[in-house]
Symmetry: D2
Subunit: 359 residues, 4 copies
Amino acid sequence: MADSRIPVAVLGATGAVGQTFIRLLNGHPWFRVAEVAASERSAGKSYRDAATTWLEGIIPNEVAGLTVLPCDTGSVKSLLVFSALDAAAAQDVEPAFAKAGRFVLSNAKNFRMEPDVPLVIPEVNASHLGLIETQRKNRGWSGAVVTNANCAATCAAVALAPLHEAFGVRQVFAATMQAVSGAGYPGVPSLDILGNVIPYIGGEESKIESEMQKMLGIFSGNAIVPAPFVVSSHANRVAVENGHTVVMSIGFEQKPTVEQAIAAVRAWRGAEEVRGLPSAPAVPLQYFDEPNRPQPRRDAMIGKGMTTSVGRIREDSILHIKLVAMSHNTIRGAAGGSILNAEVLVSRGIVPRPGGSNA
Amino acid sequence: MADSRIPVAVLGATGAVGQTFIRLLNGHPWFRVAEVAASERSAGKSYRDAATTWLEGIIPNEVAGLTVLPCDTGSVKSLLVFSALDAAAAQDVEPAFAKAGRFVLSNAKNFRMEPDVPLVIPEVNASHLGLIETQRKNRGWSGAVVTNANCAATCAAVALAPLHEAFGVRQVFAATMQAVSGAGYPGVPSLDILGNVIPYIGGEESKIESEMQKMLGIFSGNAIVPAPFVVSSHANRVAVENGHTVVMSIGFEQKPTVEQAIAAVRAWRGAEEVRGLPSAPAVPLQYFDEPNRPQPRRDAMIGKGMTTSVGRIREDSILHIKLVAMSHNTIRGAAGGSILNAEVLVSRGIVPRPGGSNA
Amino acid sequence: MADSRIPVAVLGATGAVGQTFIRLLNGHPWFRVAEVAASERSAGKSYRDAATTWLEGIIPNEVAGLTVLPCDTGSVKSLLVFSALDAAAAQDVEPAFAKAGRFVLSNAKNFRMEPDVPLVIPEVNASHLGLIETQRKNRGWSGAVVTNANCAATCAAVALAPLHEAFGVRQVFAATMQAVSGAGYPGVPSLDILGNVIPYIGGEESKIESEMQKMLGIFSGNAIVPAPFVVSSHANRVAVENGHTVVMSIGFEQKPTVEQAIAAVRAWRGAEEVRGLPSAPAVPLQYFDEPNRPQPRRDAMIGKGMTTSVGRIREDSILHIKLVAMSHNTIRGAAGGSILNAEVLVSRGIVPRPGGSNA
Amino acid sequence: MADSRIPVAVLGATGAVGQTFIRLLNGHPWFRVAEVAASERSAGKSYRDAATTWLEGIIPNEVAGLTVLPCDTGSVKSLLVFSALDAAAAQDVEPAFAKAGRFVLSNAKNFRMEPDVPLVIPEVNASHLGLIETQRKNRGWSGAVVTNANCAATCAAVALAPLHEAFGVRQVFAATMQAVSGAGYPGVPSLDILGNVIPYIGGEESKIESEMQKMLGIFSGNAIVPAPFVVSSHANRVAVENGHTVVMSIGFEQKPTVEQAIAAVRAWRGAEEVRGLPSAPAVPLQYFDEPNRPQPRRDAMIGKGMTTSVGRIREDSILHIKLVAMSHNTIRGAAGGSILNAEVLVSRGIVPRPGGSNA
């Protein structure tokens, strides 16, 4: 029986996020990893030999034997391309693929804030994919770049989505406690984090303070009108493997009661077109009544790592409401988010299925 | 040669804070542990046998052989009494000692917010010791209870002291990342904290939101006028052994520039009468230029655990200034703070030295 | 559609191992949790209210609403009973259930070394289930108690099985590095294990030194002839959540070459009757060529936590061969092992399926 | 008042071990850090600017302002040279200094096993310093290289010293659980060690299996006759910051009782000439009666990090005795060990004091 799944490529396949793509795509019902690409140093080797530090379990058999390709449009043929490239590599490679007609699902920071590049958490803002048309016009591309946000910003944005919708967010204090996996591999030295907190993550706070407004903004037909709120953030690294925690104090246009805020979070299901997609969690936003939840080690894998968890909605003594949000940074906040974005592209027919069916 | 040091007692001597008292008092130039007291279960045993889980290193020889006393004023004779009792025990025991003419240096939460009980970080508010007179009058006691604050509130209060003095603090967002030692022993189960964050510490946020205003308040002659600011806090437990980290966003009466705020922190030396006391750190407030400091594992022991460290003073996008503060929770924030308070009492002559000399 | 799965009970359902049973049985194709039982303190509450610290993710809906029963044969009706009771409770409760005709799959240490009680890792010694007949005769029971071993002994025994079969194990030095989940909840205090090693686990070494010989022994028809080897063990607790690591130096009756030892491990598939059972891993014993594997955090979940991993087979300078073994202590070494044992009982027809079919 | 302390140099001063030298030498009564040297990349900068990641607390003022020198004998003038160079750099640099008349106290592995190079833990084998004469004759050097051993071998050798003296060690199984600081900085990635064990440390086992016999060997007048025992080791990395733990099973020429073995450990004081030196701990070998000690986080700092701790001496079921040993790997097992070696050189007059006094 022929495998009718869509062949996809993973760029930057040997790094931490690249490996997460490969683990999440293992057994995916729509996609199969047909190509892996990485730096010149790895190209030509088998994936097994190139991914010298495989970070979790065993390399899936179908991928272990693939030959690592260089990251260029001549070598990589797939239409659908998951990019785990770092910023330096992404700068030229991602546009080259889009120009060559490919759909690039990017985790890099480079193009997120470009006015014509969608920054997408589909439950929150699937409509922003309308920007693809603007992007193609502006740039003369036949493909497109679709980005997902910084992992901490993603966590916070999902938690804020129903509250912004209902009450209009105006100010957000956000203090993060971020997992080491967010820094990739080798990433954070163990001497920096065992029994420790690092109250600084280079470049992180500016992303948290700018990306949410775009994601929670309104697609006007050909551009995004950002949501009108201000964010002040404190980004911290803690001794957690996976799962970013964000505590937030929030001011609104209309102050909700605690009960109204909880009800809004509980009721939220996100964009209807996303429900039922292979990577969409049954519950995109889980509210915990227990006063000490969510917790990253215990709750990051809810919804196979795609659910965002919220707890402790209560009164804030300066602004209106405070709460804690948590989600899996390398799944919901990176590779899993990209895969869900790709599923929406396929579901909408923007990326065609092989054979043309779109069931 | 006779030991001319002041004999002191430690109440609650077998628990985590009690042990910290004993370690810090080992070799103290003014004080020697003459008596240890604990619950009925331990009374009558040698300290060595009662302190079944000695948490760090080896029990000092002079203490190991002491017989554990019950916590009553008949059994414990010392004038100077360090209390590491929990709230349930402290409620009756501490006033009984004060009534009996003893000076109780308390870590319990019970009496901190009583209007006639000084809540003291001596570099910040040694003047509040003037309340002892009010307390004695009000209560007819010949001794006194002097308290130190919640460990996270202590860390934040020292960091805010020079800023409040110079610019008038009006609003504070404080998110804490607190060490497990703050919960005592056995305290936090390892399954709760390994690779994890617990976004909740029972009762902690209300202390953080109320105690600082008292500590930074003004002693009017017979009462404290609390500092007029509002605190909103998020208390989190992290996988750190020692050292509480607090990130804060601060609004002021007069907005300082970043440079002015740094200069105020750098210049601060605290109350002059505290300098040179045995437990007073050379630098009570250390400012770090490195963008990723202070860090608890690396910096909590600066000044033998008595220095508070501050870093990352920068603009806040909602209020005025944000920063990170960190100090050792069981030394500066508990036992060490009490010992320094006692040193001030001796230095002021409130607690007499044996033989009457006060050099 | 009626649920045709076998209703089962979990005794000790609120503790750490009990919760693991409930998580692993969630969605099990043959079994469904119909009853949960726990101490008097919990009985009568809903499971949701009784399991106050749910350790991972969210309580499955089907179980959350069950009323917790007391642990007696009048209250609990299921034929198949998974016991996560501690030793104190197991002593009377497990025999009572067996006497009442129930099949008790026990994790307690109490009866493991009884001559007529099977101590089973089915891939290794499914034949030992023949002891059930002896047990019933001896004790006049219509049910039976089937035990699984200490979690560290389980890990070591699976790793040794193919080597013992091929070369005859005679001596084993075993140093363990055990996860905190092995101590249950609340279990190990965080102050004991953060940044630390505890070179002692009460009662553990004697289990490791005696249980393996029984498991690797021969069922003679009505008794077990233990394997003739000596074990010397050092049990250590480390800062790992899940997965026990055991390094071993092994002496054999016939010294194998390193290549022969690796080949024996690679070739081993375990008892044929176990293959294909719902909880049986595709590969019961995984050999790693990478010099630094297996590692608990990375590899404990291979085979859904049921695979034992081995690496670093090399020459030993005193005995013959040394290696490292690792497996998941609460799945392979506890709840998952019991469930697989139950699957064998059903597969053999010892426990009947509802309706009598045995497909 | 002139500083009459001996000026010393630290080579490799910016790395983790180099920093430990600088911390330990801060306030040393005999030595002061007069020169710091490092790689070409750092040379010419101030030490403050070169040591970009200062790992603990604050850089001592006297050192922060020193200009980093290149590691050559023209630039570095001190007679006494502490080398924290890695193996690649040490290979040429250390002999060059010795040839130029300097005394090099080396932590590198390169020359430890050379027949004419002393490998010294002075409490154990100060007599081996007699090899300096052989070394100078053999090589025509006017200085010398004196090495200290691998940190895990050091821990084990001190624990074995009294037992070997009294009963003759013949076989040792040693499984180590080693701190991440042993790998330097950045060293072990946090994703490799959080919640994990790595059952492999490159090159470590062969050092543990060979260096102890040399250290516990006899100096015959011009050579070392190694102790006649065999070591089998398993080296593991665990999530501990400081302190290597080694569990050992030991066979002897004459089997001691447990009581005899404990008595030998308790009675041992090490070479008399070492007692009272500035870095010599009051108790070089601490025996713990508590069944769960020593533990690295709690006990590594006993004797300011220079005491080796032993516990759990008990019968072994294969060899004779088993136990657990632990010591601080970067103090006793590296920088502190070198400093103590230097103190012996000064005390013996091999390195002259300035002004010629040797009090």
